[in-house]
Structure formats: structure tokens, C-alpha cells
Symmetry: C2
Subunit: 434 residues, 2 copies
């Protein structure tokens, strides 16, 4: 309980209380104790402010970095201080002390802390802006993603993550003991968002997806956060591509305009406009890769090197290291992909950004007959999909959509080398903890 009950002031609002007493609560962010004067920088969820007092009469217990404290004192204007003011400390109370042997301090240089320690001590690492701002920016991406789609008449949906079968033929599924039955973790909300189109025309979902992928590369997680949308009454995948272009352009603009203070920590230049990002046919991409890089082994899909090379080509031609690749061979894409003419390719696209695929999307088949025929041609038994296929007889418009991996988008925007750095608690083949 506080020694005197009083309203707490946030660090960012201290400047509104010049010449009055305030009560701050937060972490000891910096601490400098000289012979005569002591400086205590307190940090809370709105920022930091400096308190000053006489060292010989330090008005509180022994404190150290990362302790949580309450600091009481009078605000005085000081044009030299960050934020334009500082606090003449009258009293400091210790709310809860940090351990005496922390592996590192939150205000130190986090670059020198290894990836394992950063994960093992997530709260301490994330209290450092270099790590914490990754997740603040991630939260902003989420916010602007949803805000854009709401303005475009999309309805947010919440769909089940426990499913009776997979959307893509049963591979890479995590199995759950569901009472006396077997169930699976959803590897995508694909079917549900298509059903959502039949209900609401335009839907989005932001949520976890689960892939039992045995490899643990710098670009794969077994659990990630997917920004999914699906929209009805499209003419083709180009409509989805143009929506994504508008969406990402707007999100990037908001980040540049309103959050440059966060972005600048990771980037020298503002985020680029995707206006000029080209839309390339898959076969064109193979031709370019062969011509420019001598690549000949690709067939149904790109590989990480090809993704980097195509972004480099896009950058040299348009100034933006991003490209939409459209018209993948059917063999590499799921059964619900709509055909692109009669060439064995489908209306399916990827968005490559700064060398990495961050989106998969496309136009889907929208009649039951076409879906059944596609399943048959792939040798998949359609009876397992019966309840899904019935939804296509309820008034299903032509439709398409996409999914953006939140961690990948965050990593690419901020230039992080490993997608794990953009997940608070990454999961992979070997990591279940913390």
C-alpha cells in the first residue's frame, strides 16, 4: 500500500504538472549516484523521466537497475532534460526488487546478449527498446491491418483451431487427444474463411496457425500468427493482389507517418511504397532467373534463393525489393486453387518482399463440381471433404484471398535475420519453451 494514497502520473504526462508534486511508478532505467547528486531515470509504459536528489540524504532504500519503484517529487522545468522537465525527488519506495544476479540489464546493450538468453529472459529483453519495439511495431501492424479491412467492409471472424481434418490433405498436422477422439490443430483458417465469404462476402481473421514442419530454418515456425482475408465477387486474383497492394501501402504509410520514432531504430529509410512492385508470371520468373542467374532447377515452386534473386531484380528495375508472382503450376498449390487458363497453372500468387515470401494468395474454385474434379485429379478422396463441399451449394460467389505471416512481415520490415526474433515465444521442432 502506498505511504500516501495518491494518483499516479505517467512519465509522458509529467510535463503537464510543472511545479506540482507527482507520483511516478516504473522501473529503474538508469541510475547514476555521484558524491553529491543522484540521478534516477524511471521508466513506465509511456516513457521515461529523470528524478534528481542529493546523494547524502537519498530519500529511500537502496535501489538498483530494473527494480520497480515509486518515486514522489516536485516537477521542475528544465530545458536540458529529455521531455523538458525533471523531478526533485522527495521519496522513493521499492515496490519489488529485481534479482541480484540478473543475466543482463534491460537498459544495457542488448546486441551483446545472445539469442538464447533473449528468449529465456523474454520480459527483461523486451523491456529493452531494441527488442520491445519489434513487438510494439508488430502490434501496430495488427492494428492497421484490421483498421484498413474494416473500412473496406470486411467483417472480422473467429474460427475454430481444433478441427476434425486438415485443409491440405492431412500432412504436417499436429494431433490432439480430443476426449475419446482424435482432432487436429488447424493449419489454416482457409475453409472457414471461404465459408465466411458465403456468409459475409468479405472476412478477415488474425490468429494462430499450426504446422508440424520438421525443419527448423530461419524462416519457419511450427506456430505462427496469420493475417487472413478472403473476399467475394472478384474477377480474378488481380483483385486480391490490388487489395493487398492498397493494404500494405496504407499500413506502411501509417507506420512511416506516425511511428518513425520506432522504425528508425531498425531502418535508415522509411518503408517503401509497394505501388511500383511488379506482378510477374511464374514462367516469366523462371525465364528471368535462368537468364540473369543461370538458375535451371526450379519447376513447380520458387526456393529461398530464387525469392532473394527476384526481389533483387525487382529492386533494380523498379526501386522496390518486392514482387507479386502469379500463375504457379497447379502441382505446387492446393486443390482449391482456380485454374489459370488451360496451361496447368493456377490463379495463385505469392508476394515476395525483401527476399522472402510473406504472402500466399489466389483465386479459389467456387463450384462444388470443380472442387470435386480437382480432388479427383489429385487422387484425393472427396468424401472426406463432403461437409466442406456442401458449403459451395449455399450461394458461393467467385472469391479469393490471402494470408500474410505476421512474424515474417515484421522481420522483413525491420530487417531481422530470423523470423524467431519477431515472435515473442517462438515454437519450432525443438523449442517448446518458454
Amino acid at each position: 500500500m502506498p505511504s500516501e494514497k495518491s494518483l499516479r502520473t505517467f512519465a509522458a504526462h509529467v510535463i503537464d504538472h510543472v511545479d506540482n508534486e507527482v507520483v511516478l511508478r516504473g522501473w529503474v532505467h538508469r541510475l547514476r549516484v555521484l558524491a553529491n547528486t543522484a540521478f534516477v531515470v524511471v521508466r513506465d509504459c509511456t516513457g521515461a523521466v529523470q528524478g534528481v536528489c542529493d546523494t547524502p540524504s537519498f530519500p529511500g532504500p537502496h535501489i538498483k537497475l530494473d527494480d520497480t519503484i515509486e518515486l514522489r517529487g516536485r516537477v521542475r522545468k528544465d530545458s536540458r532534460a529529455k521531455g523538458g522537465c525533471e523531478i526533485a525527488i522527495r521519496e522513493i519506495r521499492l515496490l519489488n526488487e529485481a534479482g541480484h544476479k540478473l543475466p543482463f540489464n534491460s537498459s544495457g546493450n542488448i546486441e551483446s546478449v545472445g539469442q538464447e538468453a533473449r528468449l529465456e529472459y523474454r520480459p527483461l529483453a523486451a523491456r529493452n527498446d531494441a527488442i520491445g519495439n519489434v513487438f510494439r511495431i508488430q502490434a501496430l501492424i495488427l492494428h492497421y491491418f484490421r483498421a484498413f479491412l474494416c473500412k473496406q467492409h470486411f467483417t472480422e471472424i473467429v474460427t475454430s483451431k481444433i478441427v476434425a481434418s486438415g485443409t491440405e490433405g492431412g500432412t504436417n498436422l499436429f494431433k490432439i487427444d480430443y476426449f475419446d477422439r482424435v482432432a487436429y490443430l488447424a493449419q489454416s483458417p482457409q475453409f472457414y474463411k471461404e465459408h465466411g465469404v458465403a456468409a459475409f462476402e468479405r472476412v478477415f481473421e488474425t490468429g494462430h496457425v499450426f504446422r508440424a514442419e520438421p525443419h527448423a530454418s530461419s524462416r519457419h515456425l511450427t506456430e505462427y500468427y496469420s493475417l487472413d482475408l478472403e473476399m467475394g465477387f472478384i474477377d480474378g486474383p488481380e483483385d486480391v493482389i490490388e487489395l493487398e497492394r492498397d493494404l500494405l501501402c496504407w499500413v506502411f504509410e501509417q507506420l512511416n507517418q506516425h511511428h518513425w520514432d520506432l522504425l528508425r531504430q531498425y531502418r535508415q529509410a522509411p518503408l517503401p511504397s509497394l505501388r511500383a512492385a511488379p506482378v510477374w508470371e511464374f514462367h516469366e520468373c523462371l525465364e528471368m532467373l535462368g537468364r540473369e542467374y543461370g538458375t535451371r532447377h526450379l519447376c513447380n515452386d520458387l526456393d529461398p534463393e530464387a525469392e532473394r534473386q527476384l526481389c533483387a531484380l525487382a529492386h533494380s528495375r523498379t526501386g522496390v525489393a518486392a514482387a507479386f508472382v502469379l500463375g504457379f503450376p497447379a502441382a505446387g498449390r492446393p486443390f482449391y486453387s482456380a485454374p489459370r487458363g488451360a496451361t496447368g497453372t493456377v490463379q495463385s500468387f505469392d508476394l515476395l518482399y525483401e527476399g522472402l515470401e510473406i504472402t500466399t494468395g489466389g483465386q479459389r474454385l467456387h463450384t462444388r463440381a470443380a472442387l470435386e474434379s480437382s480432388l479427383r485429379s489429385r487422387g484425393i478422396d472427396a468424401t472426406g471433404f463432403d461437409s466442406h463441399l456442401r458449403m459451395f451449394e449455399l450461394g458461393m460467389p467467385p472469391h479469393g484471398g490471402l494470408a500474410i505471416g505476421l512474424e515474417r512481415l515484421t522481420a522483413q520490415i525491420l530487417g531481422l535475420q530470423n523470423v524467431r526474433e519477431a515472435a515473442l515465444y517462438p515454437r519450432d521442432r525443438y523449442r517448446l519453451h518458454p
Copy 2:
């Protein structure tokens, strides 16, 4: 492909194109074919608009309710028409027809359709406003929940749903085959959001939680969507209660002011203010229940009947059928609950609303020593919690938080009888489908 490529107009924007030709795309919502004149109401994600043409020269193929169509024609002002205009149809194209034997039509009276059929044919049911607006309002609750907390300096976090152990002692957990190991589905983001406090001070998460509860009552789901928040530097659980009061008051105000057109379908009166909702001690509640209803069997927790009775009491005394109940006996609450004085009760509360518990929250223990002692006193081995307990040595402020069940809140706001009606795809002991 459209016969003439042209920009589609949304139903809600048709009024901006009087005397011009527009192209609408949507579902056949109503269809009336008289001897001379045919009326076709097309519905899309923004609303509905009526088209009119001569029956003898009907400019398109045979269409029926719930087919998806494109309708082309000239807009004319008509003050009698809903929306102030109608369309003189020049051409109708069928985009994808609905089945000939639908179990029901989306524009019919959904009241007569059983609960099973509504779930089995979710897209068709949700195309009906009586069902669809439940989920539109749910999306708005989500939107306003996040918007309020962002203004209050909360950071949205995304935490793992695949965990190595449970937060409440290992019961009611779904087991996952995680490669060569066993993992579990998170039954709450409790530990992660507490760690989030140590990082960001104020955090929230909106996401799925999973409970292997064997009962299938009208109030339980095995998977539900939890609105979680946690905040640092509180003085007591009252701070969390007052934040929730402010939060729900604001969310309700937004719904009343901006979305009464949706709410009125379910409610006669606007949503009440929770300003007057009382905060009652648990022991007071038992006394009142004994005095007013002769209830004597309750000990460590309330039961559904007690929740209804307390809301009735709150309503008769304050005009609002809601009450915060604070100070539950420790025995009924998790080990991390902070003690409330020395009376064997904890700083833990529920919010009861319209007869149902929709929130559990409280102040948590914030020192490692107190947590270890609490685990010991419950006979739980603390070593299983070691990695969690270590986070309490990194600078953990006094903190508390709460979790609101989104489906329960939606159901109570709209007067739905079963929480399943507020889940697009409910899951329980017996239901894994659709």
C-alpha cells in the same frame, strides 16, 4: 469474366449514381415475379438494393433466392424505395447458383430453423441478419475492446498456444503430439501476460483458449475466445475492476451510439451503464443469498443459480443486472492469486452480468517467494514452475488483470440462451464439426 468489364458498385453507394448505370454483385435476397413486373433485391456486404424490370423481357437466366448474381442497370431516384433509389435492370448474369434443395433460405425466418441446421449450414444461417449480426456485433466488441486498451497505453501481444505445461496445475488440458514429445494447448495466456507486464507494463491479448471440460452445458465451450489484459503498478484488484468498468462502459456506449441499428434486433433498450454496478465481497454475497433466497450450500464459489440471483439483487438495488464479486476464498482460486488480508480470501473477482459470470480477474502475487509459498501450501511441486518463477526476479511490478469470455459477453449482451449461438463454430465435448 464479365460481359463488359466495369467497376462494381456496392449497394450502399448506389444512391451516389442516380441516372447512371451501375453494376451490382451479390446474392438474390428477395425475388418477386409478377405478370408484368419482376423485383430482384440484391444484397452484398454493404446492404441491399432493389432492381426492377419487365417480366416478359426478363434480361437474364432463371434465378432463385441465394444465387449469386451480377445485376446491371440504371439508377433512378424513388422516394418509396428503401435507400431512396432503385435500379432499372438492363442485364442479369448468374455468377454461381445455389443448390436446388437448400435446407432453408437465408432471407427466410431463421427462428423456425433448428440449432443443428443453423450450425450445419453456418454460411447460409449467417447470411441472415438475425444470425449474421450476432457476429458483426462480436467483431465490434473486439474492435472497441482493443481500441480502448490502446488508448490506455496497453500493448497487444501474441503468445504461444502450444505449451509445455498448464497454468493451473495440469487439469483440463488437451494433449498434443509434438514431434517426439507431449505438449498441451494453452488453457489461458495467464503466465505469458504476467511476463508481458514485466516487459511492457500493460498488455492485452485476444485469442483462443482451450479447456478439456467434459461437461457440455449452455455456458461452456472447450475452445473459446478470451479477451485478456494484465496491468502493472496497481494498488489492488479495485484498480482492475475500475478499468473493466471504464472499458465496458465505453464499449457499450459505442455500441449504443453507433450500432443501435444492429443491437435493436436483439434488445428493446440500449445497453446499460455499468457505472452503478456494485462491488460486493464474496462473504456479503453468501449472506445476501442466505437472507434473500435461503441459499446455504455455497462455500468456495458461486454456482449458476447464485449468479442469476446476485444479478437480480443488483438489478433491484441499482437498476443494473451486474455485480463485481470480490474476495473469493483462496481454495477456489489459482495459486497465483494475491491474499486479501489474513482471512483466507484472495484479491480475486468475478463480474456477473445478466446472470452469468463473464469475467474472472484479480491481483496476482508478484514475488517469487510468495508464489513458492502458495504452491507449497497447495501441495504443488514448485520445480515444474521454475522457468515461470524466474520471471518474477526480473523486475516484476505488483500487477493484476482479467479475462472476458467473448462468446459469453456477446451472448449476454444480445440475450442469447446458449453460448454456442455466439460462436461461429462452437466446440464442446461432443462437437468437433463443422
